[in-house]
Symmetry: C2
Subunit: 358 residues, 2 copies
């Protein structure tokens, strides 16, 4: 484990994106989005993925100089073609379109085709909060999740983020995979050679399993709820809604045909659409009630929930976004810890372009 200042990782990552051929502006955006994951403690979605993006670019699956454009629109909606660009760049572009539409007609809703992984959903949803809007972001992803009653991997971990402004209190920021546990949590267990709790994964026959490596043995992640008796059909429905809004609505590739993140995995045959899909929403608070009224009541909501009586052995009730914001406050000053395999991987990635600095 080594700890790096944010500024050092920022410069390194920026240099890699520039070396891939990204414009100054796009490299800046991509770096800010990618590192927001490390700052917020979502280590699986930050610089640990940089080499993955580079390999997709090397494989010709990511276009470093995309012509991102609106291909269909109404006053409150748009569909965007990401031109196979970095999702880290396509997503903020699309979210800005949603925000601009909300300024005009109250809300904006944007579905995106032909994109790639967009980092953490929460970054994009939070863009709306600065504008006194509620922000939403979701994306489909390559299939790792078996629907209820099935053993076949049909859906990605398909995250949903919703960011809601408050007044004196910090924003409410929910950002979660629609599975019981995100894949990143399994990866942490794999590194520790530890078992997964029952309810996270199943084996190739659909039996409960604690094997953190089960996905490599034809197992699957489980939808939020774990099993039918505990509501996995609800997690399956949520993941499906994300898939449909992100990909069927936009013309991206959906379900088991979503393109894989690892560049060594062949692209699915007979893909029904182009690339990964995302979906973004922005709702202007004052399209519903005066922003100051809303924020006053959000402060009251947050204060009341923080004061809810804790269970025995629990310190306090958290508001969605609390842990990530606290982590960001620490890491922006104290630096970002990276495990040795990630540091090694980053150095190898840098050496491809003769970039040092780590």
């Amino acid at each position: 484990m080594q700890v790096f200042p944010y500024s050092q990782l920022y410069q390194f990552t920026f240099d890699v994106f520039k070396a891939m051929g990204c414009s100054e502006k796009d490299a800046t955006t991509a770096t800010a989005v990618l590192l927001s994951a490390d700052l917020r403690g979502i280590d699986s979605h930050g610089v640990a993925r940089l080499s993955g993006y580079v390999r997709l670019w090397q494989a010709g699956r990511i276009n470093a100089t995309p012509d991102i454009r609106i291909i269909h629109e109404t006053p409150s909606t748009a569909v965007i073609d990401g031109d196979a660009g970095l999702g880290l760049v396509v997503a903020p572009f699309a979210m800005q379109v949603a925000i601009d539409k909300a300024k005009q007609v109250g809300t904006g809703w944007v579905s995106v085709q032909n994109s790639n992984h967009f980092g953490i959903a929460g970054y994009h949803a939070l863009m709306a909060v600065k504008e006194d809007m509620i922000g939403m972001a979701m994306t489909n992803a390559s299939a790792l999740v078996a629907p209820t009653f099935s053993v076949e991997k049909m859906l990605g971990t398909n995250p949903i983020a919703v960011a809601i402004p408050a007044g004196k209190e910090p924003a409410f920021v929910a950002d979660f995979a629609t599975t019981t546990a995100a894949n990143g949590k399994l990866e942490i267990l794999q590194r520790k050679n530890a078992n997964a709790p029952l309810g996270w994964v199943q084996d190739e026959l659909g039996n409960a399993s604690t094997d953190a490596n089960i996905l490599k043995k034809k197992g699957a992640l489980l939808p939020l709820g774990s099993d039918r008796e505990h509501g996995s059909h609800k997690g399956y429905a949520l993941g499906s809604i994300v898939d449909i809004f992100s990909a069927v609505l936009s013309g991206a590739s959906y379900g088991p045909w979503a393109p894989p993140f690892p560049a060594y995995v062949p692209m699915p045959e007979n893909m029904p659409g182009k690339g990964l899909g995302h979906f973004f929403g922005a709702m202007r608070i004052d399209a519903f009630r005066p922003a100051e009224d809303f924020k006053h009541h959000m402060d009251n909501w947050i204060t009341r929930f923080r004061a809810a009586q804790p269970a025995e052995g629990c310190e306090k009730v958290l508001i969605p976004g609390d842990p990530e914001r606290e982590m960001e406050g620490i890491r922006i000053h104290s630096g970002i810890p990276l495990v040795d395999p990630v540091v090694e991987d980053l150095k190898n990635t840098g050496s491809l372009f003769d970039i040092k600095g780590l």
Copy 2:
């Protein structure tokens, strides 16, 4: 257990709403919404609740002749004051406003204050499907659910419904409480004197419990995910988002202050808003891509998911909405079974107004 033809329950329920003072039009709407739950097999939300609505009306908490009106709007949004009307009437009014806005600018989003329980969320979401739109409906409800790490009941079962049109295939209709199990499922266990599975409820100290009557002993329902290790913070976030969109955005009463459904439970003190809140959305498919293209791909999505390999011992993968649609196909012809306590309760309700017919 007795089985009643749909038409008989329809006439009876219509007569009760008329006797409460509802207009012909409102009684028709309320009856159609309420009985759609019985038809679709969601027995907890159908005529079993009729007496509850009557008691709220007797207690002066439901206004049978509401002046439902838009109090704020933009091209894509509206806030509606339900004037303490039946949610069964207020909700279709609000959903129609969302649909009308979507016709104009692509999408429509409506938050509602000062309403009451609106029946099943799926009915309202499905209104959009007939217009080649995606429909969404959600509502807050009286607090039965403890947030992760808490023993205090702060949220309702706060359901979410999303209905998505397809082509030759029937619509995708997700409609679920944001808890591990809906309260209606506990009520069924109570009648059978049976235990609940671990993960549905907790006791007053926050310990896991199988007692189906635990809510009467200061216990609470658990958010979807059951416990922190299995993602209950995600269910808590979902329930919170429903509460905020439905009530904080509209000016309804939120969180632990949401008004109770049982008329004998006193209203919370210092309510921060008016009545229950709902939130509705309608997105015109062709605001994103041609409706025929979308429906073709939805058919492909549904066909592919139906063909997903079943787990051992499971027959097939279901598409959200399949069980309810199949039940509706059966019950519209074969009638609606009601357990004896519900029949008795309905007869008592009828006798209040000298209505027979059961």
